[in-house]
């Protein structure tokens, strides 16, 4: 908003024919609003329909039809969906997978980014290209070998009841981390390159070691980028569907995003329950969105905008 204000102000001071243009601009805005309202309503309908369906008991939608008003509205579907589908377990699993993945990704990516952006050595650009490229590959390309590797590397039964990496959180955490490191390294290395070189040079003269430069000089300055990337990665990993689908067989280890695939099977055609389950799944993302929208958008556009 503020920057579009600055776009407009100098324009109408400098413009020799402001009255006419401004008049035209105003009428155009009415049309724009009508168009935007229509589009916004279209965008919201699927969400509102989901919520509306979730709030109505199945018996009443069967009686009046789904496209109707009236009858009772309550939260019964929510409590039923929560219990019957075991959504609580799915959510816990999502946390177990998401938190370590995001922390490990940011740790490794920031170390790598620091090394490639603050020091010049052979192959640093080559490695950065490899990291970035890895993140752009379709995950299906890696599916068969990763599945086989995890199947044939034994783990003690005290760590994994399958005796290998399949059906464990480790497999999902490891692969998610490996897949996300590339993107985060790329973004962070750009960010670190923009920090003045003198910062670390002065520290070097003062005798600060490499780790100290990373930990107490560069990392604190990267807080905005880390906050944006952290928020982005939490959403990405929470929304990740593919790796748990591939590696985890038992339902009680699935994270919510992969688990909701089973809603339709579990609830057959009880669309009210499915809607309630879907609504639950949206809630964590909406909370993060409302609290950290700025960071999330910043993360998406990092490097794409001046900032």
């Amino acid at each position: 908003m503020s920057s579009s204000n600055t776009l407009v102000t100098p324009d109408h001071i400098a413009n020799p024919i402001p009255a006419e243009t401004r008049g035209r601009a105003k009428t155009r805005h009415t049309g724009t609003h009508l168009l935007l309202i229509a589009l916004a309503v279209m965008w919201l309908i699927p969400l509102l329909w989901t919520l509306y369906t979730a709030l109505r008991p199945k018996a009443e939608t069967d009686k009046y039809g789904y496209f109707s008003v009236g009858g009772t509205y309550n939260f019964d579907n929510f409590s039923n969906a929560w219990e019957q589908a075991g959504l609580g377990t799915y959510f816990v699993n999502s946390v177990i997978i998401t938190v370590p993945t995001v922390l490990l990704t940011l740790l490794f990516a920031s170390m790598m980014a620091f090394a490639v952006s603050r020091f010049s050595w052979r192959f640093n650009i080559t490695l950065l290209i490899m990291f970035t490229a890895g993140n752009l590959l379709p995950p299906q390309v890696l599916a068969a070998p990763l599945f086989s590797i995890f199947k044939f590397i034994p783990l003690p039964l005290s760590i994994s009841d399958s005796g290998n990496f399949l059906n464990t959180y480790y497999s999902v955490i490891m692969v998610n981390t490996a897949f996300q490191i590339g993107f985060c390294t790329f973004v962070l290395s750009n960010y670190m390159k923009a920090l003045p070189q003198e910062l670390t040079e002065a520290a070097l003269v003062d005798g600060a070691g490499v780790w100290k430069q990373y930990y107490s000089i560069v990392m604190p300055l990267c807080r905005p980028a880390l906050a944006a990337l952290g928020t982005l990665e939490v959403i990405f990993i929470y929304n990740e569907f593919f790796w748990p689908l591939l590696f985890i067989q038992s339902g009680n280890r699935l994270p919510i995003t992969t688990g909701i695939k089973n809603l339709q099977g579990q609830f057959l055609n009880d669309y009210n329950l499915i809607a309630a389950g879907a609504t639950f799944t949206i809630i964590p993302t909406l909370i993060i969105y409302l609290l950290l929208q700025r960071h999330f958008v910043a993360g998406l556009t990092l490097g794409a905008s001046k900032g």
């Binding site: 890895g134 752009l136 086989s148 070691g209 909406l286 556009t301």
Partner: protein, 317 residues
Amino acid sequence: MSTQVASPAAPARAKQPAPRRRGGSHKLSKGDKGVLAVMVGIPTLIVLLLVWIPMLLSIALSFTKWNALALSDIKPAGLSNYDFVLNNYPPFWPAVEHNIIWLLFLAVVATPLGLFLAVLLDQNIRGSRIYQSVFFTPVMLSLPLVAIIWQLMYARNEGLINNVLGTANGPNAIDWFGDSSVNLWAALIAATWRHAGYIMVLYLAGLKGIDPSLREAAAIDGASSSQTFFRVVFPSMRPINIVVIVITIIEALRAFDIVYVINRGTNGLELIGALVVQNLVGEGQVIGVGSALAVMLLVVSLVPITFYLARTFRRED
């Protein structure tokens, strides 16, 4: 799955502070070199072991026959998997066609819609933030969730659309996700619902970064607003345009989640990404065939990836 691509503009701009005078490694002590080696070594090892080596193994496996039961069962198979996929695997060519339709739809409808929303919202409009939040909400949702939400819209008797059309509970009710003559388009609308908001955010950032004097100059020269946009504003967003092109292509190649949740990618919703998984998961695993499909996906993906990397890192070296 989300594609994230950072702009090639950033490295170029990041370079401006000074001629490159990096802390040369000769100044480093032995201990510091060791620390650096660890800082580089661990992430590199992770990416090598879990991304690059599996990618190479995928290529190797595509020339073998294997049911994934025991490592000793792996048998060389030459090009037979590719021969099978190209000539005897019925879902393959429909999947290729669907991936192309998916790409064209994103490129012609979803991405331009996102750009259009960004242009509308970049004007000094009241409530711009609210509109932005609305269009952006689906971007926060996972693709499986998008599929489920749209299933509620599309269901034969329970869905909103058939009810509004008045066809619900009748013989003319359309099962939008089930009917193979329409389900690809229904899935694409669901995908657009999410994709357009993402593109909108990227372009909003791009539009804000445009030097206002460019528009002023165009206005003084008597350019109409559409001329200004297409001849001045749009071309000056070149770095973002490239990111958006790459994202659109990669999203189309990766497309998988929505169709997999609907019906595992069958009956009109075949996509290469889903066929790979169908061959790997569940009973009767045919690793060789799945890998051959994966390698084809890889080869096609390397085109946009190389294009993007070449542009991004060209001035780096």
